[in-house]
């Protein structure tokens, strides 16, 4: 926590954040309006919003598909990542055997797996969910494993003198202590899950916002491409925001990792 965020009131902070976003949209508008930019290179914000209501495209079903892939892949990554980290902290042997393997597997560029995943699972929501999962699971696993290991040895001594059980150590000290780490992994994973789902849709899909972008690219409907990017971003922002809210509820201010 910096001194700056401490001394600044919440209201002006939020106001400034909103203003900077509005300023970007305004700059975009002015650039297109007075910059003599061809419409197929960059549409104005007004045209971009118009395309959402023009009825030319079915936005909502595609948002739903991409949203399902992102949230689904993310949720599976969260469950699998935390559980694997748990197993590794409980068994030194399993960790010694499988952690290096997972690190090696993590080196595979997940994008390179795309064509394979399509061969194995065909087109559709599931393979793209799998892409989102495969790219989001590692940061969660690594930060959780790290967080579960971070226990003060003296604190363990204190628990030992009172004959505390392993379960008590886990539930009262390790897990709550690891929460800030889990959340820092969850934040990184939120961004990656979005990228994973979209890459999946680029590589092979018959619905979703990424698929739509490829379709309208052919007709040079840049308005729609911009709108698709904005909608994808909004899904990501919603996910990220949900994680932040959850963190605010579960993690004491002093322990948050930004």
């Amino acid at each position: 926590m910096t001194a700056k965020t401490q001394t600044m009131d919440l209201l002006p902070r939020y106001a400034l954040a909103v203003l900077s976003h509005l300023a970007l949209v305004l700059a975009w508008y002015l650039f297109v309006r007075f910059g003599d930019v061809p419409k197929f290179v960059m549409p104005s914000p007004v045209d971009t919003v118009k395309v959402l209501f023009s009825g030319t495209y079915e936005w909502w079903p595609n948002v739903l598909v991409t949203g399902t892939e992102i949230i689904g892949g993310y949720a599976i990554a969260l469950v699998v990542g935390v559980l694997l980290a748990l197993v590794f902290t409980w068994s030194k042997w399993l960790e010694a055997a499988f952690m290096p393997l997972l690190v090696s597997l993590n080196m595979i560029p997940k994008v390179a797996l795309g064509p394979l995943i399509i061969v194995w699972f065909k087109y559709g929501v599931f393979p793209n969910t799998l892409m989102a999962f495969s790219i989001a699971v590692f940061p969660i696993l690594l930060t959780t494993a790290r967080g579960l290991r971070e226990v003060e040895p003296d604190l363990l001594d204190l628990v030992k003198t009172l004959r505390g059980s392993r379960w008590q150590i886990f539930i009262k000290i390790q897990l709550p202590g690891a929460l800030p780490y889990i959340f820092s992994g969850m934040k990184v994973a939120a961004i990656l899950a979005v990228a994973g789902a979209i890459v999946g849709e680029f590589l092979g899909s018959d619905k979703g916002l990424g698929y739509m972008m490829l379709q309208v690219q052919v007709t040079l409907d840049t308005d729609a491409m911009f709108m698709a990017v904005i909608l994808i971003t909004l899904i990501g922002v919603l996910l990220y925001g949900a994680v932040l809210v959850l963190e605010r509820l579960l993690v004491v201010k002093d322990a948050r990792i930004d």
């Binding site: 003198t161 009172l162 008590q168 993690v251």
Partner: protein
């Protein structure tokens, strides 16, 4: 009266592979019930190791360790309170819930424990801070909470490992006075590890001096200064004699 803690010829060797390291040789001293014994010595003299042996966290390689008497029985699974150099409060728990941790581990009744925790927080001077989080408290206040946590399950023996070592000099002096008051009010037997020579003399009813390399017990004497102790005793002649005696043993004259 029978001593509450009886140590005779305690030896501790650390082994790592083929190398051996003698951490403690021949530690012999007694602690009477209700005493506050200060273990003083330089870093690496084995005083923390000795404390961990008393806590039952380490085995020892020779000698006798006996804690408890017929009139003062001791249950090693629930009669130890510990305070470390760092407060080690759980930062996601409010102060009162931090103090309650030992009672949860021991499965003591929640309502009575909470009342006791609140009373102890008042005793250590933290009334009104029960519902704060640790980061909202200064280092000295956090250490007071850690002391309350060490007392909450009503242990017979409180082990303190340089509890004020991380505090600034003024706070430390203040905490020394506070500790003496808390010790008198609670009537606990306390073993207090420090490398502060005047702190050891000021706090201790008895001082045990340990020297390093090779680790051994150099002295063990009763401090004959009246109670309650006051800060101006630090300037009196007898206090000076005690501290000089320790400086001499530690080869610092």
């Amino acid at each position: 009266m029978e001593p509450f803690i009886h140590l005779a010829g305690v030896r501790k060797v650390f082994r790592k592979g083929a190398t051996e390291f003698l951490a403690i040789s021949e530690a012999t001293f007694d602690v009477m019930p209700g005493d506050l014994v200060a273990l003083v010595g330089p870093s690496g003299c084995g005083k923390t190791t000795l404390l961990k042996i008393l806590a039952g966290l380490y085995d020892y390689d020779g000698g006798t360790v006996r804690i408890g008497t017929g009139t003062h029985p001791f249950d090693p699974s629930r009669d130890i309170g510990m305070v470390f150099q760092q407060p080690l409060l759980l930062r996601w728990r409010r102060i009162v819930d931090n103090v309650l941790l030992p009672t949860e581990l021991l499965g003591l009744p929640a309502k009575a424990s909470r009342e006791r925790a609140l009373a102890l927080l008042a005793m250590v001077g933290l009334a009104g801070f029960e519902d704060k989080y640790p980061y909202e408290l200064s280092g000295g206040m956090q250490q007071r909470a850690a002391i309350a946590r060490a007392l909450v399950h009503d242990p017979k023996l409180v082990l303190m490992d340089e509890p004020f070592g991380a505090l600034d000099a003024l706070t430390r002096e203040k905490m020394n006075l506070e500790l003496l008051r808390i010790w008198k009010e609670s009537g606990k037997t306390i073993v207090f590890v420090t490398h502060g020579i005047s702190e050891a003399v000021f706090l201790g009813t008895r001082v045990v001096v340990l020297t390093a390399g090779p680790a051994r017990m150099a002295d063990n004497f009763e401090v004959q200064l009246p109670h309650p102790r006051t800060l101006d005793m630090k300037t009196n002649e007898r206090f000076g004699e005690y501290t000089r005696r320790i400086y001499h043993l530690l080869g610092m004259e």
